[in-house]
Amino acid sequence: MRGQNLQLDEQGRLKHLLTIEGLKRQQIVDILDIAESFISVGDQQVRKVPLLRGKTVVNLFFEASTRTLTTFELAAKRLSADVLKININTSATVKGESLLDMLHNLEAMQCDMFVVRHSDSGAAHLISQHVAPHVSVINAGDGRHAHPTQALLDMFTIRRRKGEFAPLTVAIVGDIMHSRVARSQIHALTTLGVNEVRVVAPKTLIPAQVESLGVHVYHDMKAGLRDADVIIMLRLQKERMRGAMLPSEQEYFQSYGLTRDKLAMARPDAIVMHPGPINRGVEIDSEIADGPQSVILEQVSNGIAVRMAVMSMVLGRPPAENAPAEAPAKGSAQGEAS
């Protein structure tokens, strides 16, 4: 095990995508650049490219998520991979087979990539430590830990709308404490060098020492949104209500729901984001979710291109030992005979 660098190979290239932590700024920028070029695939009559033809991608979703699962599946199919979805509820794990035995059986069927969603933090890391050397693992969300592709698609959406990261003030609003999305977003935003990252939430939903991640904490939403360029609303999980962390949905909406009057505190050209699914009337007013500043549906579309970029990067690595020295790919700095 190589700690944080478990996701990089010996040459520092992406082998797995487990978390944003430990990725260098240039590595994130490379992912966003490659995702940009995949956007045009959607314009083709045949919305596919042959990059992963012959590769097999397995979606291992131990936790329900229609949106993430669908965009991963679509991304893999647009790369021409074969895609398997393992229905965990009816799989052998519920018959007593261990997770690692199931993985090894899948590997024996010549699978090349596992996309893992799990309610336990660290599940994707664990799996990546036990797969065969040619297999890559992508974390599609684990417990409260990380959701790197969601953070990357958010960065992609911000860059497409705002251009540069450096001048931006970004406010992340909602349940920071339990949100793997927020954690990954904070790492991505600080790595990309935004001017200021703010987290806005009641005290019960802010983790201790969150400032050590380089963010500013606000408990008053209007103050937290003042002059923000980007507002990221987080989903409020209903079970947090039941856990008595919050008084009521109505009261939460009054204090931390995004409404027109609170949005007015941000810059006039601020964009509103949400990883979905939305609780309308709890964390965001329908008028704002469907309004002109909302880029929520763009986030979903961009998710396909970003996941295509990540999948093609982790599976496009040359074999470590016998990688031949090749001429640079056409389309780089100079024209090259081919």
């Binding site: 290239r13 490379d30 650049d33 490659i34 940009e36 070029s37 956007i39 045009s40 695939v41 314009d43 083709q44 009559q45 045949v46 596919k48 490219v49 042959p50 990059l51 970029a309 093609s312 990067m313 599976l315 496009g316 690595r317 040359p318 074999p319 990688a323 031949p324 020295a325 090749e326 001429a327 640079p328 790919a329 056409k330 389309g331 780089s332 700095a333 100079q334 024209g335 090259e336 005979a337 081919s338």
Partner: protein, 177 residues
């Protein structure tokens, strides 16, 4: 990699002018009744686009120049991985029934052209494709040949032809690493 010799921008400009003349004649022969100005010219990143930009201007084509990055269609992807410098292809949403003039800098193995044709066909079904290259050399690995060739290059298998640009456009012969 060291440069063995290079061809000047002036001389390349005269080659491109000759190619434009040949293309006019060839297109009129092959597609009577169709105006060359309505053809869709597509340059392959990066050198092919530089050559296509000059041809496009000289021929006064009506449709804007298409740009193709064949990185997603390379047959050596699993050996070389992703190139972060991939530029998005820019083609009309449909190329159906278009007469396409595909432009590249140097035709060598033929694999780039194979990839480019595959990508074009993922956008639609063109009426025809005419292949135009600034230079061609030996070493073909696929049965692909150009319709218009600016110049034939005599190179050993240890030499590469490399176009640098866009201003000035220069052709260098370099020793392969």
């Amino acid at each position: 990699m060291t440069a063995q010799h290079s061809q000047s921008a002036t001389s390349i400009a005269s080659v491109i002018t000759r190619m434009a003349d040949e293309l006019r004649t060839r297109f009129a022969q092959d597609h009577p009744g169709t105006g060359l100005e309505d053809a869709l010219m597509i340059g392959i990143h990066t050198g092919g686009v530089w050559v296509a930009e000059r041809l496009h201007a000289q021929l006064g084509l009506q449709q804007s120049l298409g740009r193709l990055d064949i990185s997603f269609y390379r047959d050596d992807f699993s050996r070389i991985g992703m190139n972060p410098q991939v530029k998005p292809s820019q083609l009309p949403t449909t190329v159906d029934d278009s007469h396409i003039i595909l432009v590249d800098d140097i035709l060598h193995t033929g694999r780039t052209i194979r990839a480019a044709l595959n990508e074009i066909f993922d956008y639609g079904r063109p009426a025809s494709v005419t292949l135009v290259v600034l230079g061609e050399r030996s070493g073909r690995e696929l049965p692909i040949q150009a319709d218009i060739v600016g110049q034939h290059l005599s190179l050993s298998e240890h030499e590469h032809a490399k176009l640098t640009g866009p201003e000035p456009l220069q052709l260098e012969v370099v020793e392969a690493p």
